[in-house]
């Protein structure tokens, strides 16, 4: 007697492989990293090495955030196509703002602000800044690695569809024995939001917004270093 399959065995194998791969991809991309340092965690740290890296270019997350559209109705291919369209729309917007963001190194501005705040606090005996982990000397009590993952403007509330300046920094701090003292993905948004056209057309609005968010991010990280 022949078994009748509603779905062919080949299809089931394909489907289960697809779902397994999708699940694995999903799970591997979702590590939650929020581990605030406990009070007194940095007591023993007086000589600190800070490595600041980041190659992320200025981002606009507008269409990507708001236009997840009917492409999904057409399955994975539709979703990918839709994603490509919205990514392209945002890339165009990034290009429109490129002239305003090209001249300023926000990584440098972030470093300068952090240095200023830490120096003012006199909390640490010695602080060395590096642009790469390779150049690290072993004379510090702890190494703080700051990776600027993202910076730009994004929609944070679809009710308004305005874009807020934002910055994401991955923070890892280890003591001289390699013990993790602090691990956090620090995302910061600015308190004022504007429409894309305003960023594009109003002179200095974007520059000032980005400078403010860089300062805010540095301030928050410095505060944790100083008071933990």
């Amino acid at each position: 007697m022949k078994t009748r399959h509603i779905v062919s065995p080949q299809s089931l194998i394909f489907l289960s492989t697809f779902l397994s791969l999708t699940t694995a991809t999903l799970l591997s991309s979702c590590a939650t990293a929020y581990h605030r340092p406990a009070q007194g965690s940095f007591k023993e740290v007086s000589r600190l090495s800070i490595v600041i890296t980041g190659k992320s270019k200025f981002k606009v997350l507008d269409s990507r955030a708001t236009d997840l559209g009917p492409g999904v109705l057409f399955g994975v291919v539709g979703a990918i196509a839709n994603s490509a369209i919205t990514n392209s729309a945002d890339s165009d917007k990034e290009k429109e703002l490129a002239a305003q963001t090209a001249e300023t190194s926000y990584q440098e501005a972030f470093k300068n602000e952090l240095k200023k705040l830490l120096d003012e606090s006199k909390r640490f005996e010695k602080i060395d800044f590096y642009n790469d982990v390779i150049g690290l000397k072993e004379s510090s009590d702890a190494v703080l690695e700051l990776v600027i993952q993202e910076w730009g403007v994004r929609v944070i509330n679809q009710q308004t569809n305005q874009l807020a300046p934002y910055m994401v920094v991955d923070i890892t701090m280890k003591d001289s024995k390699g013990k993790i003292l602090w691990k956090e993905r620090e995302s910061q948004v600015g308190s004022s939001s504007h429409f894309f056209n305003e960023y594009r057309d109003k002179e200095n609005l974007l520059k000032e917004s980005m400078e403010a968010i860089v300062k805010d991010s540095a301030y928050r990280i410095a505060s944790t270093l100083i008071y933990s």
Binding site: L26, C30, Q159
Partner: protein, 208 residues
């Protein structure tokens, strides 16, 4: 075709039970409250007035979305948002050594909640949960003269494969923690309060 159906179903699944209201229990956990330079000010008697709520939509703090990114139901809080924020402020000031009073206070705080929002955004492979809170805080002396005003912002985002009420509560609670930490570590606020303290015996010192 089968893939399409399964993908759409998966999207609906990860978005949770999309058509029922989600009621979040949000609050500032005293155990997680961190001390900041605010604790270096001589203990002050502080009163916190009711906070104004100037959010566009006061009934909801977010919307559930389905796999297509369409809003399907409201996300609300078990306690009113001004109560959550006021209670968090009380906890934070107490943690930093100040006395919260209903009368005879030396400092009066009032303010305005400008944002309290949970945004869910569908990405290709993940959902992003973004919490944003914004509080305009006014610090006044006993005669209600404004000593200091600042807008504080808390933000936290997390990308996950899926998540429901517990994940959303976690995101909003961390957002609230971050907002309170901003206040506890605001050196300008410390200066404003220090001027009102009867005697300053401690300097604003770092932890070392």
């Amino acid at each position: 075709m089968k893939n399409s159906i399964i993908f759409v179903l998966l999207c609906f699944f990860v978005a949770g039970c999309a058509f029922t209201k989600a009621d979040l229990n949000i609050g500032y956990d005293p155990a997680k409250a961190e001390r900041g330079p605010l604790s270096s000010v001589q203990p002050l008697k502080i009163g916190i007035s009711e906070l104004a709520d100037s959010r566009k939509d006061k009934e909801v703090i977010g919307h559930k979305i389905n796999g297509l990114g369409m809003e399907t139901a409201d996300i609300i809080t078990k306690k009113p948002v001004p109560e959550i924020m006021r209670s968090a402020l009380i906890t934070m000031f107490e943690k930093n050594g100040h006395l919260l009073k209903d009368s005879g206070e030396r400092i009066i705080l009032d303010g305005e909640i400008k944002e309290f929002w949970l945004e869910l955004q569908m990405n290709m492979m993940t959902i992003e949960f973004m919490g944003t809170m914004s509080l305009l805080l006014n610090v006044k002396d006993a005669n209600k003269n404004v000593l200091y005003t600042k807008e504080y912002q808390g933000h936290y985002d997390e990308k996950k494969a899926a998540g429901y009420v517990k994940s959303w509560e976690n995101v909003m609670n961390i957002t609230l923690e971050k907002l309170m930490y901003q206040i506890a570590t605001d050196r300008e606020l410390v200066k404003a309060l220090s001027n009102q303290a009867p005697q300053i015996t401690k300097s604003i010192e770092p932890a070392a």
